[in-house]
């Protein structure tokens, strides 16, 4: 079967009902050859159901084209030669040796009574080698661990040698190294021109490996596209009902999420945070979750507190690293402090670059000082900052960071 368009799977207006309950409500999806599609969505969204429709276990209404041919025109064995499916539940209760289980992947390629040829054994062993399971080929699958069994089943799926591979939570019971491994295998399969559609629970992994994500919720596709387009705060709240901040981790270069409780009690109170060197991040997060209107500054470019401000999308005043705060930045900072109902001075080290933040703190309407470490240990200005700090301390509320919630 050759399809010039290069579409591996085309799904049009797919509906699936169980006992009158509609599980899939009009799915439209096109998966091109060589794509690694991740199906994501909350539990019970219909990811598994959709996978089972694609290989015909679930008989759904609507159209499914496998490589251009309608699914219902294919016999069971023909489907199994084109589409392999790895189920979520990989338990096997009879003690078949691992190799025998993998060899069953050749079933759709064999005629009745046809024995497995040397070539079939070669294929099975090749994929067992690939999935690092050949070392226990003779061991009964009932006597290996869940993760090992999952890899054996993955080898069986590969042994089917299909163009389209469906995986339902392929890494569910795998440890972290094998989890990464299985997705790396998938990328290699993609490189070899195969098509993979996987239901994936772990959004970070999905974002990292999949070329396309499909977000399903309540039996409908609510977003599809490249990971950045799909994994937005808006979509996350729509699908999972959570508040999430999606950002690209500067260290790993990968999409990451920060989930927080609802900000339903949004207070109008404005707070300005004076921090730096990572001292403000925790404070900003806490204030953000509580719904305060936050601003921060002056922070040097490259400071992790500044990244934090970017992630949470709050106003900040920045200056060049390793240089003193400019007059302009200082003036902006003072304005912010004067506007804010509360100013928080974080547990930060004081040096020549940021001493003007202490000066600015004098203009606070209400000053809270967070003090976890003695200021003497944080002073790198030969006592100049310490004097300023002493003055501020007289008129401020001083708390350790763990008790910040008591004063705001």
């Amino acid at each position: 079967m050759v399809d010039s368009k290069g579409q591996a799977v085309v799904i049009k207006d797919l509906h699936f009902r169980v006992n009158g309950l509609e599980i899939l409500k009009g799915i439209n999806l096109t998966v091109n050859k060589g794509e690694f599609v991740g199906l994501i969505g909350p539990n019970g969204a219909g990811k598994t159901t959709l996978l089972k429709c694609i290989n015909g276990i679930n008989k759904a209404e609507g159209t499914i084209l496998i490589d251009g041919t309608p699914l219902n025109q294919l016999k069971e064995k023909e489907i199994a030669r084109n589409v392999a499916l790895m189920h979520q539940d990989t338990s096997i209760s009879f003690p078949f040796p691992a190799l025998d289980v993998v060899l069953m992947g050749r079933y759709p390629h064999l005629k009745r009574m046809q024995r497995e040829s040397a070539n079939d054994y070669k294929i099975a062993r090749k994929y067992m080698e690939y999935t690092d399971t050949l070392k226990f080929e003779k061991k009964p699958v009932t006597q290996i661990s869940g993760g090992e069994r999952q890899r054996v089943i993955f080898a069986r799926v590969l042994t089917q040698e299909t163009e389209i591979i469906l995986l339902d939570e392929p890494a569910a019971s795998l440890d972290i190294s094998h989890q990464e491994q299985i997705f790396k295998y998938c990328c290699e399969l993609i490189a070899a021109g195969k098509t993979v559609i996987a239901a994936v629970h772990d959004l970070k992994i999905a974002a990292r490996y999949c070329s396309k994500l499909v977000l399903i919720q309540g039996g409908k596709i609510i977003a599809q596209g490249i990971p950045e387009e799909v994994l937005t705060s808006h979509n996350m709240s729509k699908a999972y009902g959570v508040n999430a901040i999606v950002y690209r981790d500067k260290v790993t270069g990968q999409l990451d999420f920060y989930l927080y409780n609802g900000r339903d009690d949004v207070r109008g109170t404005s707070v300005h945070v004076l921090g730096g060197g990572g001292s403000a991040s925790g404070v900003i997060r806490e204030l953000f979750e509580k719904g305060y209107k936050i601003s921060t500054g002056v922070l040097a470019h490259g400071d992790s507190d500044l990244m934090c401000a970017e992630i949470f999308g709050i106003d900040y005043i920045a200056c060049e690293p390793f240089s003193e705060i400019s007059d302009e930045a200082f003036a902006l900072n003072v304005d912010k402090i004067k506007d804010a109902q509360i100013t928080i001075l974080c547990n930060m080290p004081f040096g020549k670059q940021n001493i003007r933040n202490l000066e600015a703190a004098q203009y606070a309407n209400r000053l809270i000082i967070i003090e976890d470490d003695p200021p003497e240990a944080r002073d790198f200005t030969d006592g100049k900052a310490l004097r300023l700090y002493g003055l501020l301390r007289q008129r401020a509320e001083v708390v350790p960071s763990a008790r910040l919630h008591e004063v705001i």
């Binding site: 290989n55 069971e76 064995k77 539940d89 003690p95 078949f96 069953m104 992947g105 009745r112 089917q160």
Partner: protein
């Protein structure tokens, strides 16, 4: 089939041949082994001009030898059906007896007798037995397979309920029968091989050989079914269709055996289970091993049944029940404890 499995089955076949000769030779009248073999060979025309002690020839060739062959046939049929049913239902406690299929076959046979149809043709009884077995198989299929998942114990419990129901109907039918037919009841419920002759072999051999061979062709499908319902589907096997065919064939096999020997319990349960421990779960080895093992087991049980209280004999079904029931109980306890199938 792998080499050690092949060797094991060949060894069992040789043992079976030896046991057949032994079982034919022993009895109220002892006939030496060599004589026994010679009588059998002479009557098949392999050797000529052999003289035997008066009466030995007819005892051996017309009474004991066909009975032993019936035991071989019935044992093989029941054990093969048992192995297949355990595979279909993925349940080591399933067999023609525990599922009630044997009881259904018994009922069919009794109905045929009560209607007085058995004199019309030799094949009336197996046809009725098959009808009874298939009816029960259909009920079990609807109860368990169509609805999807069913726990191993629920399956066995429903099998027992169906069995009791069918046995009750059998009693009703027999209470309308003439008094001399009523003692037949024991034969049909506990099973026996007493006075089984060549014609009984003729009744059963056709369907058992045909269905047995067809079942063997399905052994790879059975293996795939073992992986689970949806796994089978993903490999291109419609599990429901495959199960229907295999349940049909194994029910016919059971019915053919039951219409010859009555309802002999536990052969289909113990033998495949032990064989699975020896040759493993691969049905390509398990089915032939079960067939040979079942034959061996039933022939030996029948020897015990004939000789233990000579000159009287007890039904072979009683012997298999005495051995099988404790085994079944231990299997039940093990299954409950482990919550697993094996």
């Amino acid at each position: 089939m792998k080499k050690p499995q092949k060797k094991f089955i060949i060894a069992m076949l040789l043992a079976l041949m030896a046991v057949v000769v032994f079982a034919t030779a022993v009895g109220a009248v002892y006939v030496p082994f060599v004589q026994t073999v010679k009588i059998i060979l002479k009557n098949f025309g392999f050797i000529k001009n052999a003289e035997f002690q008066s009466g030995h020839e007819s005892i051996i060739f017309y009474i004991r030898f066909p009975r032993v062959l019936v035991a071989v046939m019935v044992g093989a049929a029941l054990a093969t059906s048992g192995a297949v049913m355990q595979g279909i239902f993925r349940n080591p406690m399933a067999d023609p007896g525990t599922l009630g299929v044997s009881s259904g076959a018994s009922l069919g046979a009794v109905v045929a007798i009560a209607l007085g149809l058995t004199t019309r043709s030799l094949y009336v009884m197996p046809v009725f037995a098959a009808a009874g077995a298939l009816t029960v198989a259909f009920v079990i299929f609807v109860l368990s397979l169509r609805s999807g998942k069913i726990s191993p114990l629920t399956l066995i419990l429903s099998g027992i309920a169906v069995s009791m129901f069918v046995n009750a109907i059998t009693s009703v039918v027999l209470s309308f029968a003439r008094s001399d037919q009523v003692k037949e009841y024991i034969f049909w419920t506990t099973g026996g091989l007493g006075s089984r002759r060549w014609e009984h072999l003729a009744i059963g051999i056709g369907p058992i050989l045909i269905c047995g061979a067809l079942l063997f062709l399905f052994s790879r499908e059975l293996n795939v079914l073992m992986l689970g319902e949806e796994e089978a589907y993903a490999l291109g096997l419609d599990p429901s269709k495959a199960r229907k065919i295999m349940l049909f064939l194994s029910s016919i096999t059971t019915a053919a055996a039951v219409s010859v020997s009555g309802n002999i319990s536990f052969v289909g349960l113990i033998v495949p289970h032990i064989m699975r421990l020896i040759v493993g779960p691969d049905h390509r080895a398990l089915l032939p091993a079960s067939a040979v093992g079942g034959a061996l087991f039933l022939v030996l049980c029948d020897v015990v049944a004939r000789t233990v209280i000579q000159p009287e004999e007890i039904g072979v079904g009683i012997i298999t029940s005495l051995l099988g029931a404790p085994y079944f109980l231990s299997l039940l306890i093990k299954t409950r404890k482990e919550g697993a199938l094996l």
